[in-house]
Amino acid sequence: MTYENTAAKSLLEGSAIPPRTRPAARTSEDFARHERDKKRKLALRRVLRGAIGIGGLLVLWHVMSVAYNLQLILPPPMAVLQRVFGMLTLDDTRWLYGPNVYVHLAQSFQRAMIGFGLAAILGIPLGLLVGRIAIVREFLQPIIKAFYPVPGIAWIPLAILWFGLSDTAVIFVVFMTAFFPLYFSAEAGARQISPILIDAGRCFGANGLTLFYRVILPATVPFITTGLRIGLGGAWRMIVAGEMLASSAGIGFMLMEARFQFRAVDLMTAMILISIVGYLTELLIVRLVEKRTTEKWEVKSA
């Protein structure tokens, strides 16, 4: 019988309310254990809910595929999963895409990293300069604003014209895509720095490039990590588009080939690989930067 029931009963019956029993004395260790258990429970629940979401989608997918007999254009999840496994273990007798899947992935990854890296090397310092120095801003801001509305994908035809069907063409469009989020985040970050921090830097003897490197850059890091995240996502998206149109290797090329061969299973498999690699790349690069900066300093990411 629960306490509440007892209380209610004793009230109804007019008897004295039973004294509340004092809980056993609790030490800080008890509290710590309690907190740990609570956290573990919450984490488990979070994972469970995520799994239910994904599981639900898989079930829906399977039902759609089988019930409407769409196997040819919407192969059931098990078939795709098998294919992912087959591709990654390279046991495939009907491989139609030249070198194995790792070579394609590595190619795409390399191009994406070069394009993204160049965009970061140019975009972040430029953003900081435009954000802090009026003369640089006045010269460059109009140019950058003029180019910004042109989507990366619109550069593909021109890139092919300039660089042919080559690595360079793909890297170029990746660069054009990743540049803007990196640039704009650095610029916004540099503009919002508390003036007093700049004053402190100058009063303690930092000026010119030292001020940029020692004060402005670190103070902008929370914004820059956001730019890295968006830029990296954009780069990875654009690599697929670029390779579909302007390349004869890479995961995007594989995707396009699978369409020509009318093999939806391979198409979806390639998409899953894109998702996995993209996720891992973000984890590797952005999380690494955050761990070493904003998380260590406990400043909020923008």
């Binding site: 007093i196 402190a200 009063c203 303690f204 003897g205 930092a206 103070a219 300093w297 406990e298």
Partner: protein, 281 residues
């Protein structure tokens, strides 16, 4: 014993670290151009702890920013050891109203910052930073990041960062503890005066807290507002550490308070009046 001299301070005997002459400053406010400082002449002798007090709008913070080189005066010039101040620099250490610490540096990293900018050898900079942190009672938290500190500790780091700067001939403090609760403020004042006793520096300290000024200063300058100008100097000759409950302390506080209210009541005075009240002969 005399605790406060009337009127204009006597000419300082030691050579002045700061020599301000004919400072005028205007800035554009909400309602038009504001005359922030008018004909300001001021000397600060070496190793003096000077407090500037006055009601808000008397230009005391503006004056400090001009000395820091962060604001250029509309007219007049300030000499630091005979050299005209043209911008901020490591020959002055500064403590702002907020700690303004670098979140990406540890406590000792913050204190070392100015020394590193001066290209001081690493080991030497570390040693100096550690020494100052020990004085302000933070020797045990040198490797923490600012977010891990309490508000009062952050302010102490800010003081240590300025104090560590061996190249600084003058330390500027702009109401450094005004955002701190009264009890912690007293502790911080004790740390500050203790540090100053151990290592005499020339300090220009701006505050609106009369109690704080009487507790800390060798000399107090009361400024008058609209436009900001020299009001009156008070010399504080009490032994340190001072007893806030002593009659002497209370008497000086009362005198300054009265003078401050008087200056608030007069409103605008002619420039002549402020000139003869303030300038050292």
């Amino acid at each position: 014993m005399q605790t406060a001299h009337q009127g204009g301070g006597p000419a300082p005997t030691a050579p002045a670290v700061i020599r301000a002459r004919g400072i005028d400053h205007y800035y554009e406010g909400q309602t038009g151009w504001i005359h922030a400082l008018s004909h300001l002449d001021l000397d600060i002798p070496r190793e003096e702890f000077l407090c500037i007090i006055g009601p808000s709008g008397c230009g005391k913070s503006t004056f400090l920013k001009i000395v820091a080189g962060l604001v250029e005066p509309s007219a007049g010039e300030i000499l630091l050891d005979g050299k005209k101040i043209t911008g901020p620099g490591p020959d002055r250490g500064i403590v702002f109203q907020e700690p303004a610490l670098f979140a990406w540096r540890t406590v000792i990293g913050n204190v070392e910052f100015g020394l590193q900018m001066q290209k001081m050898p690493k080991a030497q900079a570390r040693e100096r930073a550690q020494q100052v942190l020990d004085i302000v009672g933070l020797g045990h938290v040198t490797n923490l990041y600012p977010y891990q500190l309490s508000g009062g500790m952050r302010h102490r780091v800010a003081v240590a960062r300025a104090w560590a700067l061996t190249s600084a001939k003058l330390l500027l403090m702009d109401e450094p503890f005004s955002a701190i609760d009264a009890i912690n403020r007293m502790t911080l004042q004790d740390y500050l005066i203790d540090t100053w006793m151990k290592e005499k520096r020339t300090v220009l300290y701006v505050t609106h807290d009369i109690d704080e000024a009487v507790y800390l200063a060798d000399r107090i300058l009361l400024m008058r507002p609209s436009p900001g100008r020299i009001g009156r100097y008070f010399h504080v000759d009490m032994e340190r550490p001072r007893d806030r409950n002593s009659a002497e302390f209370a008497a000086l506080k009362a005198e300054i308070t009265e003078e401050m209210h008087k200056s608030a009541d007069d409103g605008y005075e002619s420039d002549d009046a402020s000139a003869h009240a303030g300038v050292a002969a």
